[in-house]
């Protein structure tokens, strides 16, 4: 079966776009082929800085012929209908149509349309221009006098089709004056001449001879192996860096790995700074000395040419640039250490954190207050936590972090250590940003925890207050990550930390008096809460006025203001808590927990202690895994179903407790007694946070519930008995409410 080879040859494609472009090309072309009935055996895409290519293997030579019967108008239909039918089917005259008899409809015409399949080459020539014109580059451009767009100017196209035993056919199509052919070029500098290619194998072999490794994965493997070998030969270890490798393999067609060095005096700079300098600016790898565990004064660069001098000039050039860069880095590092962190803080007052959330200085002030509030709850010294929070962002104003934002926090630690600040303060500088991602470490030192939580909670509440919540895939301020960070810090450290009060006090700070005075309406996004607020205020006012004698309205107004404050931050906290619940569900689901159980627990009033929520969920899951649990759940559902039906019928809600004197049957009395005991036990155990024991207590209901349903008819003919039994069923419901909302449990 024949194969397709396609190559789009252009000026240098940005490295970061290459892998995605290769995938897109494969998908677009193969989808278009399949859509047109052309199945294939395999497809592989290739990408280098200058070419995007695709080989599709095992295509048929042509599409299958197709037949279609199309029903037309009845015999004797008006001429216009007949003409329309002929036009739409392509028949020359109505005699070419068959006449079919139908018992109900009589005689009507049927056209038999036969479409011969097109040659695959023709199909490809048809689909390619469109695929190229609408290719999904993240950014594309025009050039010269043309109007087409490509990532950079497109120069030539190879498109061949054929089996390995024949000369492949060139599929011709044209796009903005570029006619596809079978000619490509080799390496820009090492083999710039044009040459013809036939099929994939030929293309690969000729490119290799022309100093182009077309396969991206192979280039990566070559770079990685050569870099490791070169390191090893010098007694060093390569500091592997997948992101850098991805990028570098997109910058070369012919990777040549070389080693350079820099002066040892630069090793005074922290390793992370050296690495960031060399990586970001020069796209070179750094090396570790296995004897010291620290970086060595060497680096590995990946050149795109095998130079005539063996790479001496290239290494010398790169060394010179790296020397200059490291001189800058050293200068920054030395300069930064001359100014104490505390001396930088004043500048934060003039730096905007967010247009609607004011200056960075004010934000730091809030974090300090919040960290001090959290400190005693997490076993940290409040004064130390406050100091750590005050300095945690100070490194943002240093030269090194200005140059390498990814080193924020870490540099703070270095500078704090340099100043001999308490080790907790230094650690918090780095750790308060953590955890950054799902695999990042969670801080465990109490001071770091206090600052990390304060920072994240202030961020969340702040963006909530100005109504910049995440929507769909958009989360520009990484609020989901912040919430997950809070969750992980609490759970991993087994912290008992009710969130609501913290959210409220963060909100109070953000929506503080001063803001109200200066921007009563717009600046805080208060308008987004306005509708709800106005409602609340009016309600509050009415309530108050009803109780307040005439002539004292001013007190009422003051009261209304208090209500506004409380409501605004209270609403916000409630809304944020449900966001936390969602994040927690995602988090627990990823760890295998049932999201319905999380829902069941969160459905209870006032669940803002994440650790307790999780413990309840775990206990509940364990309980539901037992025979007792399953049976009780079944009994519960039976009770609730009956209740629901009867309540609907009667239009009333039955609320326990049942009246003792109306309990007639033994099983009834038994159940009522059991509920009484179990309710008490459950609430005692829950109070002491013994959730497993609470479940154990709950399981004592199983027997009585089963016995009740076996022996007692709920819908007794006597109305008082029936009502009393329904109340008893409600008691089952309320007994379980001490643990979770069983209605939310699925399965």
């Amino acid at each position: 079966m024949p194969d397709l080879l396609l190559e789009l040859f252009s000026e240098e494609i940005p490295a970061r776009m290459q892998a995605q472009a290769a995938d897109a090309l494969r998908k677009l072309v193969t989808d278009a082929l399949v859509e047109r009935g052309l199945m294939y055996e395999g497809a592989k895409a290739f990408v280098t800085p200058r070419r995007l290519a695709l080989a599709v293997h095992g295509l048929p030579g042509r599409q299958a012929d197709s037949k279609e019967e199309r029903k037309g108008p009845r015999v004797g239909a008006p001429e216009a209908a007949i003409q329309g039918f002929l036009k739409s089917t392509g028949l020359a005259s109505i005699e070419q149509a068959e006449v079919v008899k139908d018992a109900k409809k009589g005689e009507f015409y049927v056209a038999l349309i036969e479409r011969p399949g097109k040659a695959t080459t023709e199909v490809i020539a048809d689909i390619m221009p469109d695929i190229i014109r609408t290719f999904p580059w993240p950014k594309s451009m025009r050039w010269g006098t043309g109007t087409m767009r490509w990532v950079r100017p497109l120069h030539s196209i190879v498109c061949t089709f054929g089996t390995d035993i024949e000369d492949p056919e060139v599929i011709r199509f044209e796009i903005e004056g570029i006619v596809s052919g079978d000619v490509t070029r080799g390496h820009r500098f090492l083999a710039p001449e044009a040459f013809p290619v036939r099929r994939l194998e030929d293309w690969l072999a000729k490119l290799e001879a022309a100093k182009v490794v077309a396969d991206r994965d192979r280039r990566k493997a070559i770079i990685l192996n050569d870099a490791k070998d070169l390191a090893l030969a010098n007694g060093l270890e390569l500091v592997e860096d997948e992101g850098l490798l991805e990028e570098v393999c997109g910058l070369v067609e012919w990777p040549v790995t070389l080693m350079g060095s820099f002066e040892e005096r630069f090793l005074d700079i922290p390793d992370e700074v050296i690495r960031a300098t060399i990586r970001a600016n020069q796209k070179c790898f750094v090396l570790r000395d296995p004897r010291t565990g620290r970086l060595a004064n060497r680096f590995i660069l990946v050149s795109n040419i095998a130079a005539t001098d063996g790479g001496k000039a290239i290494v010398a050039g790169n060394e010179r640039v790296i020397r200059a860069r490291l001189s800058d880095a050293k200068f920054f590092w030395d300069t930064d250490r001359r100014t104490p962190m505390a001396d930088r803080l004043g500048k934060f007052d003039n730096i905007t954190f967010h247009e609607k959330l004011g200056a960075q200085g004010a934000r730091i002030g809030r974090i300090v207050t919040l960290a001090q509030e959290i400190a005693p709850l997490v076993g940290a010294d409040a004064a130390l936590a406050g100091e750590a929070a005050r300095l945690a962002k100070a490194d943002l104003l240093t030269e090194v972090v200005g140059e390498f934002p990814e080193l924020q926090g870490l540099m703070g630690r270095y500078y704090a250590q340099h100043e001999n600040l308490p080790p907790e303060v230094a650690a918090a500088s780095e750790e308060h940003y953590k955890p950054q991602g799902p695999s990042d470490r969670v801080p465990s030192a109490p001071v770091s925890i206090a600052v990390a939580l304060a920072d994240k909670i202030d961020t969340l509440v702040g963006f909530w207050a100005i109504d910049e919540k995440p929507t769909g895939s958009k989360d520009p301020y990484a609020l989901r990550r912040a919430a997950l960070g809070v969750i992980r810090i609490i759970l991993d450290n087994e912290l008992r930390l009710p969130l609501r009060p913290l959210l409220v006090s963060a909100a109070r700070q953000i929506l503080g008096e001063e803001h109200y005075e200066h921007n009563p309406h717009d600046a805080l996004g208060v308008e987004s809460f306005a509708d709800r607020l106005v409602g609340e205020i009016i309600k509050g006012l009415t309530r108050r006025l009803a109780h307040v004698p005439r002539g004292e309205e001013s007190t009422a107004a003051a009261g209304a203001e208090r209500i506004e404050g409380a409501t605004l931050s209270g609403d916000l906290a409630a809304d944020l808590l449900s966001f936390f619940a969602d994040r927690l569900k995602v988090h627990l689901r990823e760890r295998g927990a049932r999201h319905d159980l999380v829902d069941a627990v969160f459905a209870l009033e006032g669940q803002d202690d994440l650790l307790l929520v999780v413990r309840r969920v775990e206990a509940l899951a364990d309980f539901l895994g037992t025979e007792d649990g399953r049976t009780l759940l079944a009994g519960y559902r039976r009770a609730v179903n009956i209740l629901r039906i009867e309540e609907k019928k009667d239009g009333v809600a039955y609320k326990g407790p049942a009246e003792a004197k109306l309990l007639k049957e033994a099983a009834e009395e038994h159940l009522a007694a059991a509920i009484e005991t179990v309710k008490h036990q459950v609430s005692e155990e829950v109070k002491h946070e013994h959730f497993a024991a609470a479940m154990g207590a709950l399981s004592h209901l199983r027997g009585p519930v089963d016995a009740f349903f076996d022996a007692v008819i709920v819908n007794a003919p006597e109305a008082p008995l029936r009502a009393n039994r329904l109340k008893l069923l409600d008691e089952i419901r309320s007994a379980t409410r001490g643990i979770a909302d069983f209605d939310r449990i699925e399965g």
């Binding site: 240098e12 490295a15 025009r142 040419i305 000039a313 050039g317 790169n318």
Partner: protein, 311 residues
């Protein structure tokens, strides 16, 4: 390869001015008009009307020129070996961008002595955007052995208008390139005139004192009251000239108006260096300059050279 016929002091790898002249000659041979620097303070060669304005409209255009570029904030009192508040860009603009623009660029490197069989020349993604000019384009920074030596851009939009045809722009950082080909680590050590011994003039001889003086000026003494006033005046004058130049379908004074836009932009850079512009204000100043640039671009498109006025 460097032209062997060149006298030693004219060689691009021995003389700063030799480098400049070699590039001028190279691009003159490609049919460019070789212009002189624009006689106003600008932040980059792109501001020269020969690029900003000529990039707009349908008319073809090829030009090359050196442009002193002022970056008040980059002043380092002459103490940094790489950073200057005044330096030279060599600018080439070809409209429409020819299909062989990359090859031409590489030939120009060859002419100043960068052998691409010996040196690793790379085109690394770098999209260019000038918020003040309302302009953007796609292209690369060109690396030679890991050092950025040029910017290469296909203009997509200037002054908020689509460029059609598209102009290709090359910007060579002359000092960097000279440091590279002369093998010098400190910009002030560059040989400026290509002579040796008592006759040798270095870049430091020419510019070190200026760097010190202007750093003091830019960071400490530039008269901010005056500058704030100048900004306001340039902005007003630009609008005034644009209004005065309106002539129905045509515009008769686009270039004098654009001069005021350039002026405002430089004054803003000075104010920025003096640290008197807050973060929020900064954005609004940039927007104000962009509005001027857009209005001037619109006016230019109604001039003869802008292709808007039928003869």
């Amino acid at each position: 390869m460097i032209d062997p016929a060149l006298l030693p002091h004219m060689r691009p790898d021995r003389s700063f001015q030799g480098l400049l002249l070699t590039l001028q000659t190279f691009w003159a041979n490609q049919g460019c008009v070789v212009l002189q620097p624009y006689d106003m303070e600008v932040g980059a060669g792109t501001f020269h009307p020969a690029t900003t304005l000529r990039a707009l409209g349908p008319k073809h255009w090829k030009a090359a020129y050196a442009q002193p570029s002022r970056r008040p904030k980059d002043g380092r009192y002459g103490e940094n070996p790489n950073r200057l508040q005044h330096y030279y860009q060599f600018q080439v603009i070809l409209k429409p961008s020819p299909a062989n623009l990359q090859d031409l660029y590489l030939q120009s490197l060859d002419a100043i002595g960068i052998d691409t069989k010996l040196h690793d020349v790379r085109f690394v993604e770098d999209d260019w955007e000038s918020p003040t000019l309302g302009a953007w384009g796609l292209g690369w920074e060109c690396w030679c052995d890991g050092m950025e030596v040029s910017q290469f851009t296909y203009f997509q939009q200037v002054a908020g208008f689509e460029c059609a045809p598209v102009a290709g722009e090359l910007t060579y950082g002359l000092e960097r390139l000279a440091m590279y080909v002369q093998g010098v680590e400190n910009v002030y050590d560059l040989n400026f005139n290509g002579r040796e011994g008592a006759e040798k003039v270095t870049y430091g001889d020419v510019f070190l004192q200026a760097e010190k003086e202007y750093s003091r000026h830019n960071f400490e003494h530039a008269d901010t009251d005056m500058l704030l006033e100048q900004f306001r005046m340039a902005e007003a004058a630009c609008a005034k000239y644009l209004a005065a130049g309106e002539d129905g379908e045509r515009h008769l004074m686009a270039q004098p108006a654009y001069d005021q836009c350039i002026k405002a932009s430089h004054v803003f850079n000075l104010l920025d260096a003096r640290g008197v512009i807050s973060v929020t204000e900064r954005q609004s100043y940039i927007l104000r300059v962009r509005e001027l640039a857009k209005a001037c671009g619109a006016a230019w498109l109604k001039t003869e050279a802008g292709g808007g006025a039928a003869a």
